[in-house]
Symmetry: none
Subunit: 156 residues, 2 copies
């Protein structure tokens, strides 16, 4: 067998390529990777993509393209209980809502809040275990509390 190429670097190249172009098959990716100086087989690509947790997702047109995984994505295998536990405590201060979560889960919760499209929440900033949510000015805390409850348990 020939001298191995640096796998780390190849994986990095794959990330780069996948994030910058819409590739529809491993064969296409293989071609691009080859251009970039990383020749390899479809077999290897299949394994690399698995390791990088890259999957094909459908655009509006129905076509599928490869895409990097985004944190905050959780598999449908997560149990109800696990999801409900994502949100620990909610307190308010001025027009800010402070959501406490388990360590490391803040970004996921923030992601869900952002994507819930609620009119009450203007935006979020996530740390490691805390999410800061900026409320619409005239929103009552009760309303906000209920809304966050729905988002967390609903996605749960």
């Amino acid at each position: 067998m020939q001298k191995r190429q640096d796998k780390k670097t190849r994986l990095q190249a794959i990330r780069l390529i996948v994030s910058s172009q819409a590739l529809e098959s491993q064969e296409d990716l293989q071609i691009e990777l080859d251009k970039a100086g990383f020749p390899c087989t479809q077999t290897t690509l299949s394994r690399d993509l698995k390791q990088l947790r890259i999957s094909k997702v459908r655009g509006r047109n129905g076509h599928s393209v490869y895409a990097l995984p985004r944190e905050g994505m959780f598999s449908p295998v997560m149990t109800r209980e696990e999801k409900d536990k994502r949100c620990w405590r909610v307190v308010f201060s001025g027009n800010l809502m402070v959501v406490h979560t388990p360590p490391g889960h803040a970004s996921m919760v923030a992601y869900d809040i952002d994507n819930a499209g609620s009119p009450y929440f203007l935006g979020t900033v996530a740390g490691d275990d805390t999410v800061l949510v900026v409320l619409q000015e005239d929103v009552k805390r009760e309303v906000a509390r209920e809304a966050i409850g729905e988002i967390v348990s609903q996605l749960a």
Copy 2:
């Protein structure tokens, strides 16, 4: 050909099944769907999944399961050009300004805001795609909006 079953209903059933169990193949889905009273072929499923924009995503273990589409979940939903073109969304609440950016760009924007040396902005906190800017107490929103506009456009 036999009497057709209601496609609408079948699609609904697929949504339900996919969102409640971790299925690894269309064949598995076919079996579940059959149990639910919607017998059909893999061919039909392939088409249904395409129409529903359901795709396989990888869990942490690397295994793939079908999952309903979630907006904004994957990067390629928006191309790089679209991201660059997208106009920043700026909203206010109290003496806070909330600046939305493309995913991962918040810290860069925050950095630029900090370094712009504007007297209107006391400080910033950046998440992944949101920057929280604390405004000087007596600053008018129009002024703030204009100021941020200048800072941001310098980036582009």
